[in-house]
């Protein structure tokens, strides 16, 4: 299979969906001539014109609100928030409007829109440009939350998100944009709500999101040399959640480690831990472990940043700790 960059996979998904459906359009800051701060919309202005590839003022609340308004009357907007950190500026529209209107209006509201954004640390961008805020959005009924970890997932899931009739909060990772991965040439729509077992194993289940998937796979490879067999599951969508794939794995391995780049407390991992503690209680051979960022804003210093953000070695240490407790 051909290999392309994660950011190119995003462009392809947008391109194909815009070609397929005239109601799909893009809006966001610096997405037109500039092709986006992370070059995820390059070439689309030239192809679809300024009406459908709309540069907006720096008005995040306005971006999400206009996306919603246009969806209500039948468009399928894909709004870009340059950094997930800036979602904080648009929170009313995301949480009180986008997520709520279908329900509040008794089901009679068209809210087919995608909010694309990117998060994560690793580039010394400091506390206001490196957060992992996915748990905020998973917490809000009415939003679907997608977090692809590979180019293939990014493309297939973005296509599904654009076709979805519900608002989808689509979180990319700034360090993954330049990672290359196999993506089929032919059309592939990856359904929302389906996890993927990225690696099979028998001793322990690692549930990882976004950038932690690659780090977990690398950890699993190293641990294999020590005779430890890890299964690595990427939920790909945080809500709706493919609980069965995760629970089946935990029932098989008896051990669960959850890892994400967001801080631990009230993180998405807590939800998975609670679910497994209830629904796989009889199968657990060790306390559930979480490997997450340290509970601090993201520091600028590269030394401190890499200390705070979990890496492959933290996953390995977490796994070893769990095996020792038996």
């Amino acid at each position: 299979m051909r290999e392309i960059l994660y950011r190119e996979a995003i462009i392809e998904a947008l391109d194909e969906e815009m070609a397929r459906d005239g109601s799909v359009f893009l809006l966001g800051e610096d997405i037109a001539e500039f092709g986006g701060s992370y070059k995820t919309t390059v070439g689309l202005l030239e192809k679809y014109g300024a009406e459908r590839v709309r540069n907006t003022p720096i008005s995040e609340q306005g971006i999400i609100g206009t996306a919603l308004g246009s969806a209500l009357v039948g468009m399928r907007p894909v709004a870009e928030l340059m950094y997930i950190d800036f979602s904080a500026v648009a929170m009313d529209q995301i949480v009180n409007q986008v997520a709520k209107v279908r329900y509040m209006f008794g089901g009679k509201a068209n809210t087919s829109l995608v909010i694309r954004t990117q998060g994560g640390a690793g580039r010394s961008s400091a506390a206001q440009h490196a957060q992992s805020l996915e748990a905020w959005f998973v917490h809000v009924p009415g939003l679907k939350v997608v977090m692809p970890s590979s180019a293939r997932d990014a493309k297939g899931l973005l296509k599904a998100a654009i076709r979805d009739d519900d608002p989808v909060f689509f979180i990319e990772h700034k360090l993954l944009y330049l990672e290359r991965g196999a993506v089929p040439e032919e059309e592939e729509v990856i359904p929302i709500g389906v996890a993927e077992v990225k690696r099979e194993g028998s001793d322990l289940t690692i549930v990882a999101t976004s950038s932690m998937v690659g780090k977990s796979l690398a950890a699993a490879k190293e641990l294999e040399n020590e005779g430890v067999s890890c299964e690595v599951i990427d939920p790909r969508t945080l809500f709706p959640l493919d609980t069965e794939t995760i629970l089946a794995s935990v029932r098989k391995t008896g051990r669960l480690l959850i890892t994400h780049e967001a801080v631990q407390r009230c993180g998405w991992g807590a939800e998975i831990a609670a679910m497994a503690a209830k629904d796989a209680f009889d199968y657990l051979d060790a306390p559930i472990e979480r490997v997450c960022a340290k509970e601090t804003p993201v520091p600028f210093s590269p030394k401190l940043e890499s200390y705070v953000i979990p890496d492959k070695d933290d996953v390995i240490a977490g796994v070893r700790g769990m095996l020792e407790t038996v």
Partner: protein, 323 residues
Amino acid sequence: MIRLTKVKALWIYETMVRIRRFEERSIELFQAGELPGFLHAYIGEEAVAAGVCAHLTPKDQITSTHRGHGHMIAKGLQYEGMFAELYARATGYCKGKGGSMHIADQDLGALGANGIVGGGIPIAAGAALGLRFKGEKHVAVSFFGDGASNEGAFHEGINIAATWKLPAVFVCENNGFAESTPRATHQAVQDIADRAKAYGMPGIVVDGMDPQAVYEVAGEAIARARKGRGPTLIEAKTMRFLGHYVGDPGTAYGHDKEVGKWLKRDPIITFAEVLVKKKWLNKSNIDAIHANVNNEMEEAIEFARKSPEPELGDAMTDIYASV
């Protein structure tokens, strides 16, 4: 009418040089791979920070932006702590935790560069409120860009300041671009200063390439604020000479074509000419100023390079005052 004195004029000139040289060296160091993160250079806009801050004391407060080095230098922050911060060293103004976009020093009334566009505007209103509560005649000044004037934070912040007649001055540095977006495509008004009218405060356009004009207009606004007559919105028309961030050539969105005519109005060159004509400066003074600035800077860079990195444990401090 506020008149520019020789002392202030020389201070403004030297401050502009300090900013320019800081930015030029930072870019070199960044391109040499010595500095992590990213940089937004203030080159071209020096007259605004210098002309405004010439009126401020350390008790006056400023808020700034992602393009904040110039404001910080004009507010009195020193090269050593600034370079150390860019180098992510423990001796930096923010102990290496903030970096280029978050340099701050409360002791000098610098309430921070800011990574969130528009974020500093209501904070300046609040600082002005706090200063008035304390019965002090100090003012708060907020610097921000044309792009920021489209954020809700701008409209909410200046409306509060006007309604409460706060001792604040809002300085919009209209450099014609918000990242890659030309100003005319992100707002329908010609002059951002017009927006002041909607909130019931004076709005004034000034040539941001002319330090004397900035000094005079800012002086009126700051005096007005100190007297308790409320805020002013100043729009300084200016231009960043470089791309949005270091590494952006500015070619994708027409900046490279626009910038040429502004380069001819480089405030450091034109203001030196003005001062030489007034006989307030001569060639050898100018050379001495540059030499002093350069010496001080190289020492500061050495200081930063030799400074220790933060300890790992420092990552977990300063999150709360106490827990």
